[in-house]
């Protein structure tokens, strides 16, 4: 299944959850509440088709073919 991740085509398995995508990209293991299993802070957010998906909903949100996902974090600025 193909989605767009941060403006580029990206392949995920069918019905993958937002949690699995974030986990895959960040290399961090995530609990079902979206928090990192190591107890640290994750510092990223997800928008799906221009709507923010709250962390607590990541686990229950399945990606769909053609979804446009933005995964953002804090960088130097301002």
């Amino acid at each position: 299944m193909n989605i767009t991740l941060n403006g580029k085509p990206y392949a995920v398995r069918a019905n993958a959850s937002v949690t699995s995508l974030v986990s895959q990209i960040t290399g961090r293991e995530l609990a079902s509440n979206g928090q990192p299993a190591d107890g640290q802070r994750l510092g990223v957010a997800v928008a799906r088709n221009s709507e923010v998906v709250h962390r607590s909903h990541w686990h229950g949100t399945a990606l769909a073919e053609g979804d446009d996902i933005e995964l953002v974090t804090a960088i130097q600025g301002g």
Partner: protein
């Protein structure tokens, strides 16, 4: 001025707290993080500056990025103030603020809606629209604004938590181009006023505080200085000095000289 005001205990020191949204900040220097060549160097400069609140930008996650700025701030107990830098419309700014709130778990946001890349000046119309939306969505809005007393008051009335007029355009280091407007903004504001943008060196920050600003926000002046950590320390002192000078009350400016030594009792030489 004929009245003397009781000075708050510890004025100019880290016990002279700026309280924003119920949070007592231990420093009146708010730092930006843009322009630093390395995360290590940035960390050293932030620590030297004594800042308690630091802005970050929100951008696409890149696995290739080395180290985490967010983690650096968390590790050093520095509160994070996400900004909406790079947004040209209210819609983008609101979306960016929502993502920042989600990612960084703070409802504080430095609202920045710029008109064009050449001047980086705030777009007043989009700024007002975005501020209204964000306040309605429960954000504490730190509004980066032009040095326009009318717009600053407008933002405050919309519910902005702090107004942040520019001294001069972002990154120019031209200092405070319209001190009169900054004084006017301060005199009418009942929310904290933070001088934001255009600071070039320590004396600019001292001036901002002398004009009555509650805090100063800067990035480039430190991150692109030849020695960022040293400049961070310089700004720490400058902000404290300006704060003290404002409280102490400067002498009036005079047209002619005023001798500080008495003329009477002088020796006469024949």
């Amino acid at each position: 001025m004929t009245e003397t005001t009781a000075l708050p205990a510890g004025l100019g020191t880290d016990t002279d707290r700026l309280v924003i949204d119920g949070v007592a900040l231990s420093s009146r220097l708010i730092m930006g993080t843009g322009g630093a060549p390395s995360l290590d160097g940035l960390g050293a400069a932030l620590l030297a500056s004594g800042t308690d609140l630091t802005t970050v930008a929100m951008r696409r996650y890149s696995p290739a990025e080395k180290g985490s700025l967010f983690q650096l701030l968390v590790d050093n107990n520095i509160r994070v103030l996400p900004n909406t830098a790079g947004c040209f419309t209210a819609r983008d700014a609101v979306m960016t603020a929502e993502l920042a709130r989600e990612a960084l778990e703070t409802h504080w946001v430095k609202l920045e809606v710029i008109a064009d890349e050449h001047t980086l000046l705030p777009d007043a119309v989009e700024l007002v629209v975005a501020a209204e939306h964000l306040v309605n969505r429960g954000f504490k809005v730190f509004a980066y604004t032009n040095d326009d007393p009318v717009l600053a008051l407008r933002l405050e009335n919309l519910g902005a938590t702090a107004v942040m007029p520019l001294g001069s355009p972002i990154g120019t280091g031209l200092g405070i181009l319209n001190p009169h407007n900054i004084e006017l903004i301060v005199s009418r504001a009942s929310v904290p006023v933070v001088l934001d943008a255009g600071i070039g060196t320590a004396s600019d920050a001292a001036l901002a505080m002398e004009l009555g600003c509650d805090a100063v926000l800067l990035a480039t002046a430190v991150t692109r200085a030849q020695n960022p950590a040293l400049m961070g320390a310089a700004f720490k002192h400058a902000v404290a000095a300006g704060r003290l000078a404002k409280a102490a009350g400067r002498i009036p400016r005079r047209e002619h000289a005023l001798a500080s030594s008495a003329m009477e009792g002088r020796a006469e030489f024949l």
